[in-house]
C-alpha cells in the first residue's frame, strides 16, 4: 500500500481523505475541503520524495543553428532547425516542410535583417564571397552562378530495327479506343511494354486519385476553409445581433432516436 501511495500523489490524497473520515471532532465537509485545498501529505510520503521527482527528460529535438555565420556550406546543407519561423530563408536558401533552413548554393552563411523586405523578420542567406554583406543593394544586379559544366553531346547510335533472329526489336499494338502501346523484344523472345510506359498509362485515363495534388495545396485549402468558417460565424453573430435576442430561435440538432422519443413524450 505504501509504495502505491508513494507512486501516485492522487492516491495519497485519497488515503488522507479516508483518515480524515475517521476523525469525528470536525465537521466532515470542512475537513474534506481542507485536505483537498492544502493537499495534506504525511512525513512517510514526503520522505520518499514522490512528489518532488521531476518527469524524466524528453527526447531532445536538437533544434538550433547547425552552421554559424561565415561558415562554408554546400547545397542541401542544413543551416538552422527550428519550430516555426524564428528565421526566414533569404538569399540562396530555402525553407523545408518543418521550417528547417537549407542552403541552395555553395558559399558562406550570413545571418541578417532586411528592413526593405520585411520590417521585423530575420533572414539566413548564403553568399558566394565571404566578404559580401547581405542584404545586397536594392537595384543592383542579382549575383548568380551557372553551376554547370560543358560536355560534348554524344551522337545517338542507330539501333538496328530487326534483331539477329529476324524479328523486329519493337512493335506497336494499335487497339481502337486505346492509346498505342509500344512492345519491345525481351531476352526471352517475348514482347512486353516497358514498365515505365505502363506507369504512364495512368495519365491517359484522366482519373483523379487525390483531391489535392500537393500537400501545400491541401494546407492552403484548409486555411481558406477555416477563414471562410470564421467569416461565416462572424456574419451569423452579426445577424443574430441585428435581429435581437427574442427573434433568435435556436433549433437544436436532434438525432433520429431523440426525435422519436420527443414525439412519443408529446403524444402522452
Amino acid at each position: 500500500m505504501r509504495s502505491l501511495i508513494a507512486q501516485r500523489p492522487i492516491m495519497a490524497a485519497l488515503s488522507g481523505l479516508s483518515r480524515v473520515c475517521i476523525n469525528r471532532t470536525a465537521p466532515i465537509g470542512a475537513q474534506l475541503a481542507n485536505s483537498l485545498v492544502q493537499g495534506q501529505r504525511y512525513a512517510s510520503v514526503k520522505s520518499q520524495g514522490a512528489y518532488k521527482k521531476k518527469s524524466k527528460r524528453g527526447i531532445p529535438k536538437k533544434l538550433g543553428a547547425k552552421r554559424t555565420g561565415d561558415q562554408y556550406v554546400i547545397p542541401g546543407n542544413i543551416i538552422y532547425k527550428q519550430r516555426g519561423t524564428l528565421w526566414w530563408p533569404g538569399e540562396n536558401c530555402i525553407m523545408g516542410r518543418d521550417f528547417t533552413i537549407h542552403a541552395m548554393a555553395t558559399g558562406y552563411v550570413k545571418y541578417y535583417r532586411d528592413p526593405a523586405r520585411h520590417p521585423d523578420r530575420k533572414y539566413i542567406g548564403v553568399t558566394f564571397e565571404k566578404d559580401d554583406v547581405l542584404p545586397y543593394p536594392a537595384h543592383a544586379e542579382r549575383k548568380r552562378k551557372l553551376g554547370r559544366t560543358a560536355h560534348q553531346i554524344r551522337p545517338e547510335v542507330a539501333q538496328p530495327e530487326i534483331s539477329p533472329s529476324g524479328i523486329p526489336f519493337q512493335i506497336t499494338r494499335v487497339e481502337k479506343g486505346e492509346p498505342d502501346r509500344l512492345l519491345r523484344l525481351r531476352k526471352d523472345y517475348s514482347y512486353r511494354e516497358d514498365n515505365w510506359r505502363i506507369g504512364r498509362l495512368v495519365q491517359t485515363t484522366g482519373l483523379k486519385i487525390k483531391r489535392f495534388r500537393t500537400r501545400k495545396q491541401y494546407f492552403r485549402h484548409r486555411r481558406w476553409r477555416r477563414e471562410r468558417e470564421i467569416e461565416g460565424q462572424r456574419k451569423a453573430a452579426q445577424r443574430r445581433e441585428e435581429l435581437g435576442d427574442d427573434a433568435v430561435k435556436v433549433v437544436k440538432q436532434l438525432s433520429k432516436k431523440a426525435l422519436k422519443k420527443a414525439k412519443k413524450a408529446g403524444r402522452k
Binding site: 554546400i74 544586379e141 548568380r144 551557372l146 554547370r148 559544366t149 560543358a150 553531346i153
Partner: protein, 447 residues
C-alpha cells in the same frame, strides 16, 4: 419504381425525345445563323455577297479575306448575323424608348456644359499667356505652373465631356475609335491598366527583369508580341523555330504626338562556363522608328533602313542543359527631335556579347517606356536553327556541376566489403554486391 412506371418510362422517354427533335426542327426554321452555318459547311466556298464585304455584317467564313484586305470585322459574330437578318433596323441613338431618349437629352445637356467650360478655360489660358512674365504675380515660374495646371484641367474636361456617351463607348469597343482623340486614348489606357499592365508588371518583377537588366522600369505603353501572326503571352516559352524570324510588335501609345523610338532585345541568361556565370547578349537593336497613338503595328522584320536597323535579329536559342533564356524586348523613347546615331551603335555593339542596357540608355539618352518578353529553351529544332545561323555550341551540353560532400569518404561497410581481401579468396564468387560500388550486373561506380 412500381411495375406500371417501369413499363411506362421507356415509352415516355421516346415521346419526350420526339418532342425535342420537333422543337429543334421548328427552331432551325426561324434562326438564320444555324441555317447559314449549315449551308456554308455543306458548300465550302460560296460567293461573297455585298453584305460579306462589309465589316459590319461579314460572316465567319469571309472574315479572313476581309482582314487581308485591311478591314477588321466589327463586333461579335452574333451581332453581325443579327444585323444581316435585319438590315433596315433603327440606329442605336434613335431607338424609340422614352426613358432612353430622356437620358440622352440629359447627357447632351451635360456635354454642352462641359464644352462651354472648355471654351472658358481656353480663353483663360490665352489671357494668362498674354500677360508678360515679369507682370505675372509670382513671376515666370508661377506663370508656367498656372498654365500647366489649366491645360491639365482642359484635358480632364475633354474626357469628361465624352465619357458618358454610349456611342463613343460602342465605337471604342468595336475598335473604331480614333486614337488622336483623348477620349479613345483614355478608354484604351483604362482597358490596358485593368489587366495587361498588371500582367506585364508582374512579369517584370517575377522574372527579375528589374534588377537584372535595368534598375527601374515603369511601362506606360501597351506592347503585345506576335510570332507568325499568333499572339504570345508575356513570358511564354516559344519554340526556337518560331522565334527564328523577328516578331511583330503591336504598340499602343496613350499620350498624343509622334515620337522616335528605339527597340532593343536583350538575353540576360547566356551561359559563361569559364567564369561560372551568365552574361547579356543583344539580339536586336533598331532606332529612329516613328510611332504615334494611331499606328500600332511595328513589325521588326520590316525595319530595314540604314539609319534605323543597327543590329539585325539574332534567333533566340538556348544551349542544351542551360536554364531558360529570358528574351526581354524594350521600347525606349528618344528625346524629342533627337536622332540616335545608328552608325555609332553599329560600331559600339558589333560584338553583341556583354551588352549593358544601362550604359546604352545613358549613351544615347533614351528612356524605357514599353516592355514585353518571351522565353526560350533547348528543343528539338534548336540544333537546326543554330546550324542555319552559324551559332556555335549546338554540340555542347551543359550538365549540373557535381558538388562533393564536405565529409570525407566513408570506409565500406558490410559482410561482403569486409571479405574482399585475398584471405577470403574462396568467397570471392559470393562477394560481388557492394553497396555504392557494384551490383549483381557488375561494377557500377564510374571511374
Amino acid at each position: 419504381m412500381s411495375r406500371c412506371q417501369s413499363v411506362a418510362r421507356p415509352l415516355a422517354r421516346q415521346l419526350q425525345q420526339r418532342s425535342v427533335q420537333q422543337c429543334l426542327a421548328i427552331r432551325s426554321f426561324n434562326t438564320t445563323s444555324s441555317q447559314l452555318n449549315a449551308a456554308a459547311s455543306a458548300a465550302p466556298v460560296a460567293e461573297p455577297t455585298p453584305l460579306d464585304l462589309d465589316p459590319n455584317t461579314v460572316l465567319p467564313e469571309f472574315e479572313d479575306a476581309l482582314i487581308k484586305a485591311g478591314k477588321m470585322p466589327v463586333g461579335s459574330r452574333r451581332r453581325r448575323v443579327a444585323l444581316r437578318s435585319n438590315p433596315n433596323s433603327l440606329p442605336f441613338e434613335q431607338l424609340p424608348y422614352q426613358a432612353f431618349q430622356e437620358a440622352r437629352k440629359i447627357l447632351a445637356a451635360d456635354r454642352e456644359q462641359k464644352v462651354a467650360k472648355i471654351k472658358e478655360e481656353v480663353e483663360k489660358i490665352a489671357r494668362v499667356e498674354a500677360v508678360e512674365d515679369s507682370q505675372f504675380r509670382g513671376g515666370p515660374k508661377m506663370k508656367a505652373t498656372r498654365l500647366a495646371s489649366l491645360r491639365k484641367y482642359v484635358e480632364e474636361l475633354k474626357i469628361k465631356a465624352d465619357v458618358n456617351d454610349p456611342i463613343v463607348k460602342k465605337r471604342f469597343e468595336d475598335g473604331l475609335g480614333d486614337m488622336n482623340k483623348p477620349i479613345y486614348r483614355y478608354y484604351a489606357e483604362k482597358k490596358w491598366r485593368s489587366y495587361d499592365q498588371r500582367l506585364i508588371t508582374q512579369r517584370i518583377s517575377q522574372f527579375h527583369i528589374v534588377p537584372d537588366i535595368i534598375p527601374k522600369l515603369v511601362p506606360t505603353a501597351d506592347v503585345q508580341l506576335y510570332f507568325r501572326k499568333a499572339k504570345v503571352a508575356p513570358g511564354e516559352i516559344v519554340d526556337s523555330i518560331v522565334s527564328e524570324n523577328p516578331p511583330r510588335l503591336r504598340v499602343q501609345l496613350f499620350n498624343p504626338g509622334e515620337r522616335l523610338v528605339t527597340v532593343v532585345v536583350v538575353d540576360p541568361d547566356v551561359p559563361d562556363v569559364e567564369n561560372d556565370a551568365f552574361f547579356k547578349r543583344c539580339h536586336y537593336i533598331a532606332a529612329n522608328i516613328p510611332l504615334s497613338p494611331t499606328d500600332t503595328s511595328l513589325p521588326l522584320s520590316k525595319i530595314k533602313g540604314d539609319d534605323q536597323l543597327a543590329l539585325p535579329w539574332l534567333p533566340a536559342v538556348a544551349q542544351k542543359g542551360s536554364p531558360y533564356h529570358r528574351m526581354a524586348i524594350f521600347l525606349l523613347e528618344q528625346l524629342p527631335g533627337e536622332r540616335v546615331d545608328v552608325a555609332k551603335v553599329k560600331e559600339l555593339y558589333a560584338s553583341r556579347d556583354k551588352f549593358s542596357l544601362k550604359s546604352f540608355q545613358s549613351k544615347f539618352r533614351v528612356r524605357p517606356f514599353g516592355f514585353n518578353m518571351f522565353r526560350s529553351v533547348w528543343d528539338e529544332n534548336t540544333a537546326a536553327v543554330m546550324a542555319r545561323h552559324g551559332l556555335p555550341g549546338a554540340d555542347i551540353e551543359l550538365r549540373t556541376a557535381r558538388v562533393h560532400s564536405l565529409k570525407g569518404p566513408v570506409k565500406l561497410r558490410g559482410w561482403e566489403a569486409k571479405r574482399q581481401g585475398p584471405k577470403y579468396r574462396q568467397l570471392w564468387k559470393y562477394t560481388k554486391r557492394i553497396r555504392g560500388l557494384s551490383n549483381a550486373r557488375g561494377w557500377t561506380k564510374r571511374k
